[in-house]
Symmetry: C2
Subunit: 658 residues, 2 copies
Amino acid sequence: MFDNWAMTRMALLVLMLSGLAWAAGLMPAPAKLTEGQGRLAIDRAFTAGAGGCADPRVASAAARLVARIAAKTGIPIPEPRGATTGRPVLSIRCNSAGDEDESYTLVTTAAGATLTAAQSIGALRGMETFLQLVAADGDGFAVPAVRIEDRPRFPWRGLLIDSARHFLPIEVIKRNLDGMASVKFNVLHWHLSDDQGFRVESKVFPRLQQLGSDGLYYSQDQIREVIAWARDRGIRVVPEFEMPGHATAILAAYPELAAAPGPYQIERAWGIFDPIMDPTNEALYTFLDGFLGEMSGLFPDPYLHIGGDEVNGKQWTASPRIQEFIRQHGWKTNHDLQAYFNQRVQKILTRHGKRMMGWDEIFHPSLPKDIVIQSWRGQDSLAETSRQGYQGILSFGYYLDHMQTAAFHYAVDPLAGKAASLTAGEQARILGGEACMWAEYVTAETVDSRIWPRAAAIAERLWSPQSVTDVASMYQRMEAVSRDLEWMGLKHRANYLPMLERMTGGYPVEPLKTLVDTLEPVKLYARSQARPYTSATPLNRVVDAARPESAVARECLASPALARRWLARLRDQYAELRPALRSSFLLKEIEPVSADAAALGQAGLEAIGYVERKQRPPQTWIQQANALLERASKPRAEVVIAILPVVRQLIESASRLP
Amino acid sequence: MFDNWAMTRMALLVLMLSGLAWAAGLMPAPAKLTEGQGRLAIDRAFTAGAGGCADPRVASAAARLVARIAAKTGIPIPEPRGATTGRPVLSIRCNSAGDEDESYTLVTTAAGATLTAAQSIGALRGMETFLQLVAADGDGFAVPAVRIEDRPRFPWRGLLIDSARHFLPIEVIKRNLDGMASVKFNVLHWHLSDDQGFRVESKVFPRLQQLGSDGLYYSQDQIREVIAWARDRGIRVVPEFEMPGHATAILAAYPELAAAPGPYQIERAWGIFDPIMDPTNEALYTFLDGFLGEMSGLFPDPYLHIGGDEVNGKQWTASPRIQEFIRQHGWKTNHDLQAYFNQRVQKILTRHGKRMMGWDEIFHPSLPKDIVIQSWRGQDSLAETSRQGYQGILSFGYYLDHMQTAAFHYAVDPLAGKAASLTAGEQARILGGEACMWAEYVTAETVDSRIWPRAAAIAERLWSPQSVTDVASMYQRMEAVSRDLEWMGLKHRANYLPMLERMTGGYPVEPLKTLVDTLEPVKLYARSQARPYTSATPLNRVVDAARPESAVARECLASPALARRWLARLRDQYAELRPALRSSFLLKEIEPVSADAAALGQAGLEAIGYVERKQRPPQTWIQQANALLERASKPRAEVVIAILPVVRQLIESASRLP
């Protein structure tokens, strides 16, 4: 199932993609693309028909495709009613129902389009490509004449969504599944249990949701609804239930399973906490057998993820009884105890028909080879497990909550580092990767903007040939994907202005938008160090509205004309914003940032003036400008001024004048 | 039920409203408001409890209120779980369940808030007021200390939504019901049948939806869902089924009921069409008895609207048999025949427990006094029917599809014109009014932006005391309402940028936004004269994205500084927009508008220069400027440049210089 495609067959990439205006919407880039002659007009007569596909998902995806093209174009294309006669505009064929082979061929001409796939899953993937090709030209909406032969580089292309730290209603999950399908992700890794919450209804152990969720959990019907929604879109759902650590919510319901006496409360803060299960307690395995048995029935995917990361072991170390257990077995460390626990759990999962997944920490030679290791540690760690015969996926470098740029994630390849020198057989055990949306600092309102559009860059890394690395092309196409996602109901753009308006109240929002367009949240773990956060802390501040990556800052670095315009705006925004800054408690913290951004705008424009006049600025100006750069480069209110490097360049250019 | 409140008791209005920053969100303005001392902080501990209200709608509205405050503020207020202990922050009391008395008293202090109402419906209204009071100040979110005694001026405050011309999915109806409740509308007048479609599932006559709807209709379950949704929010649902004209869709299903031989097809164009029912055919009344009987069971409201407008009578005139029928009865005109038809229908409706409503045209002294006349003709017509003992509501002046300003609608009073000189008893028969959202030129994507926020001005006219007429205050508060509506899921703002991005494709959207922010669609019926439209015509052009009323144009008229900034932006947008104008077929038509807007920006800035320098411009400049004004004032692409009056003022000022 998870054979990697031979890399040599992947070298067919058509890098000219970025040169074709109409290809600007294709993401991930297809493996092979050949341009044809002409265009296929998309109008009210558009139809999509799935003949000969035994899988009913294809017909329903075709019906959705028609509705999505209607939404994207604004053309009132009638919904299909009853049996269609004649050849549809887009004719979809697949040889069999199945989820193994995602390859497809899409041929479009002025007369119509044909999508063929060996299996139904390939037809689902190809329809997403067709939708991305729809664009307005001078005469109307159309799809260019093209031949695309496409297949994924990796079979496991996932997105982890953490519903434990902040509960996310199923509408949020469903719309993100729509977004995932559009960029050909195929695994939703659903993080459903952690210290801060247990999020699934258990009928066998109802105390889990009663005492572990604050009432914020998914019913089993909702879980089934999400799984069906995902399956319709060719996406698997792998649930994760963290154990033996990150399990405070479970231990709040069942303190007797912990390594230290309870009672336990749902954890409200973020971090790594002490409560942990007691692997020496046979009752734990009885519980896990019942619990994992129930969850194995609820989640049909062959895999179940047990977490296993960040075990601090303090409760184990503090317990003479547990330390004695370790000694009796001849082990040396708490990690050996965790390995024992994992072996027990793995056997339980096998009995319930599941293959076990876990983070790096579960790796231990005592476990069978059918488990999958998810690596937050990196490609070298992954290479090591692969060499020892284990399958793995990469998440190192794909943490969306770290607020890195899309280019940063795009440059992370699962087969880089020590993984690059693995044998082909070893590389084949590296199944792909997963973007991770950890939810300490997101809510239903903001999560879309943290996932999208950056996750599309990771989706392309995992689907497209390894040689697809043009960053400028990636950004151009990511912008088109971002627009397309809006038509599917994602809120990554829609929620931005309302959040800013919440802060400005009755004052004009435009100057705040000008400022925040040039800001970014602090990176990596800086936010956790800035102030004490809990699950009760509102996430309604500028740092929550600011996009992870400022497109304005990026584009200003590339375009002096654009930079000049934005510097002028930044110079002006502070005076315009001042009344709002002083009347809204949500904006007070941002006043020094606004003031410094205005000073940066002014300094940048002055620097441009010096450079244009070829006049070296006075030394005092240079000193003041550098002092401003230093002051303004410090994070405040948990944001950074992302446009600062543009100003630094200008000041340096001016300072270097003879 | 529909007694008007004595106007004298309404004179308690506190016009200082507009002077209170925190009152900026109150719309409609309450009848009486007294300021208190301090503020009630809104934080995570906020709770709302409805003790002693027998009506379960109050408790569910209270739960929604908590969720809506959480959405508006971004504060993660926990959902209420189980029975609450202690006094809630907002304590809601009502004496009885009922929908007659909408009055309420809301008292807020630093210690808590109390909402009291005689009936449950008043509690629902008061909760909307409470939500509008929530705002950010320098210390946090809060509600000011205040005492509000409020009650509506008119008992019938409706919004007509036309689901016939363009079908609107129930999500659209539901979110607009949310919006209606927030500004205290209490009637959804649902226009469900017209020439272009019959939109309700009939189980008795299924051919109606099978042949009359293109598959676009509401199931009876969906209808019940909408009615329940509305009822939860204190809104009645009055269905309208047009007869004997505007009934082509019905006649497509049952051509034998028409005055001329069929077959008939669903009408695709807009206008007044010939197909009409045959009032001389007894089978028609058999059909209507069955049909109206079924619909009377489905829609619980005491009223059912039969339309009755725009009967052109051509088929009646052309039929010797029908003309003979008229002669036999001693009548003179087709209108007498329609009156006969209405009497028959009215008796059928009475039998099914309904009171009949219709447009002006149904008025005839032969009808009983319990019918209600809806007037598109105006207050004089309404006064006449009232004098004759009939109840009526006003829709003249409230047509949202006419793209008039909020100030225009706001100035229309049901008791103006000849209605102003009616006796108190006659005036009491004027129950209120209804805003009308006719749907020839709206889709699910655009309809919210045509209804909101302008409908809020009409809602205030119908709720607040007659003396509330300050236009500046109205616009300020309407802007706050518009923001609040976003948190409820209305799309009037959210869909704007995506629509513009659809047109610009990969080009920057900002210059297009600059332009379209200053444009408005053509007014009244101009669009229908601009080109042939049908239900198949895409509504995805600039005219569809442009807001009915340009806030930028309005604000620039009041603020020279703002005007100067926008003129500079307009001057620049054309050059920036040119690549997109030439690559997207959706933008081609707008190129002359963009070019003229740029010229207006340039001319306006030059005029400012002349005025500031106190230098009279050359005669050739004045001539060219006036020629530009004349050219640019002509609608093109079905839009007008709304900011033009600003430029005209500037040019006139410059031209008048000595």
